[in-house]
Amino acid sequence: MTVLTEGSTKRRSGYALRPPASVTLICLFGALAGAALIALTVGAAGIPLARLPAALGLWGDAGAGPSLARDQLVLWSIRIPRIGAAAMIGALLAASGAIMQGLFRNPLADPALVGVSSGGALAAAAAIVFTDSQIGQNFRFMQHQLLPIAAFVGSLATTVILYSIASRSGRTSIAIFLLAGIAIAAIANAGIGLLVFIADDRQLRDITFWLLGSLSGATWPKLATLAPVLGCAAIACLSIARGLDVLVLGEAEAFHSGVDVERLKRISIVLVSAMTGVAVSVCGVVGFIGIVVPHLLRLVIGPAHRLLLPTSMLLGAVLLVGADTLARTIVAPAEMPIGVLTAAIGAPFFLAMLLRQRGLVSL
């Protein structure tokens, strides 16, 4: 028997005080705009706020010259695609975490924690090595598509394996789920280790980038891969929101309430894999966004997925834009891998969550 209850401590006396949905959404949009603005101005090449409109080519006169040209170059070819990628990846990771938690009825599920991201990274790393091989040369023309597709397939395989191990006759054992996730992550990491071993220098650089996670490779073509996936995911999220709510009662009860549970599970698994896989293919393994964001939001707006999924996307975007700005400024001109940064912040948060629920968890 597993009892795991979130946000239910006695001192809050169990009453739900939630702000209206519109207030939450407006605040999050505001925060996203603010984070983007800060991210535009700071960095190795600082662009003061006053110069921003001119540098963006909007209005104002900052005085032409080589420095304006430099600022324009920095903004349009580096900073804007990077901020866009950070926002979209944050949205994908946070929402895929929320869906996975709904699917497993457990607030501790996170694609990065249970090896889904590692599975995607393994497939991506394999694709990198493969495209350099003799047979792989023929596939070079589709290298841009190959990485996201490989990462998606890797994530999907991992999620399906995880689900079939952890759930039996409609019940999901959380202990088995987390332990199986650890084992799968270990297997995937062993596979990546093997690829690192056989990779040449250039491949090694590419693979390392995947393992630590970085947004420095964000370019306009990559945004073009992210945007449609995010758009489709956002629409799909709305269609499964009610099903995920009812699924909290258990699979049999959700069926009794009229939910097509098998269909819901299939959609959720494909969705989580696609969102995680595409995010991994652009920036590598970035952990804990998927666990921190939905958890914080449930404390404020409650667990109903109709609001939780879109707000997770927004808060995930805010956090990753913020984290990426931090990652590229604290050790400037060098850059800290963002996966390291989110783990450094997210892991203690995860432990605090465990401690808070210690009395209520039984594996």
Partner: protein, 266 residues
């Protein structure tokens, strides 16, 4: 009157063990049937088959003249509602949100009316904004009963009398709320719903059910009115307990357990 639910020689075999063995059962609209029996008699398994959740190994179950396995889940939910024994909610949904889940995609205003009425019926109106996981087991059970009532009401509004299945609905309730819940189910039956409840308390079953179905080792031992189904002899044979049966002034039978293990006493 035509039956809402017909089960024809339904069996359930899991890994060589026969949990339910060739049971025939017909339930008409307006009837309240109690399923009783010792632990492991197959009561919950039978109920889960009647809900369409488990597919019988042999036999067929027809709901409103159609094979229950052929209903898509959404349509089935309009015709039958089921309260499971243990429902464990892990996220901090409020009582009201949980009860709302019964309403499916019904219109907001209509759903809210049904939710408020159901919360009143289970005596939880004052807790509607509480987070469900912070409530006691009995209060949670009542909240889930309210959810099931809302689902039943939504279905009956569109498709006429439905089927209400209750799996040990009183297991963690105090005496007052046990009676409350069974009386609420009884009122539904009087309005035409077919009610089937797995009950442990034989007195509660005899007090409220029109018919008692007694299961023993997966087989149907007795199916009848409350006086002919429950006799001291039957109880001794099936439950292995000596009981005394008496009648209230209104003629309702009640029983008082005497000693265990009558087999040794004989």
């Amino acid at each position: 009157m035509t039956a809402i639910l017909e089960a024809h020689s339904v069996s359930m075999v899991v890994g060589g063990a026969t949990l339910v063995d060739g049971i025939d059962l017909c339930v008409a609209p307006g009837e309240m049937v109690a399923i009783v029996g010792p632990n492991g008699a197959g009561k919950s398994t039978l109920l889960r088959m009647l809900s369409g959740d488990l597919r019988p190994t042999r036999g067929q179950i027809r709901l409103k003249r159609r094979d229950i396995q052929s209903y898509p889940p959404r349509l089935l939910a309009f015709h039958r509602a089921m309260l499971s024994q243990h429902v464990n909610v892990t996220f901090p949904f409020t009582v009201e949100e949980i009860v709302h889940m019964g309403a499916g995609d019904a219109g907001r205003a209509a759903a809210q009316r049904l939710v408020d009425a159901a919360l009143g019926e289970v005596d939880l109106a004052h807790f509607s904004q509480r987070q469900l996981p912070t409530l006691s087991g009995g209060e949670q059970q009542r909240a889930h009963f309210a959810r099931v009532l809302v689902q039943l009401a939504c279905g009956e509004a569109q498709h006429g009398p439905g089927l209400l299945l209750l799996d040990e609905p009183t297991s963690s309730l105090d005496m007052r709320h046990q009676i409350d819940l069974v009386e609420t189910a009884k009122r539904r039956a009087q309005n035409g719903t077919a009610v089937i409840a797995v009950l442990h308390d034989l007195n509660l079953a005899m007090r409220f059910a029109d018919r008692i179905v007694l299961l023993h080792r997966g087989r149907l031992a007795v199916d009848g009115g409350r006086s002919d189904a429950i006799t001291a002899e039957t109880i001794r044979r099936i439950f292995e307990v000596d009981v005394k049966i008496d009648y209230t002034e209104a003629g309702v039978p009640f029983l008082l357990p005497q000693t265990m293990r009558p087999a040794a006493a004989q």
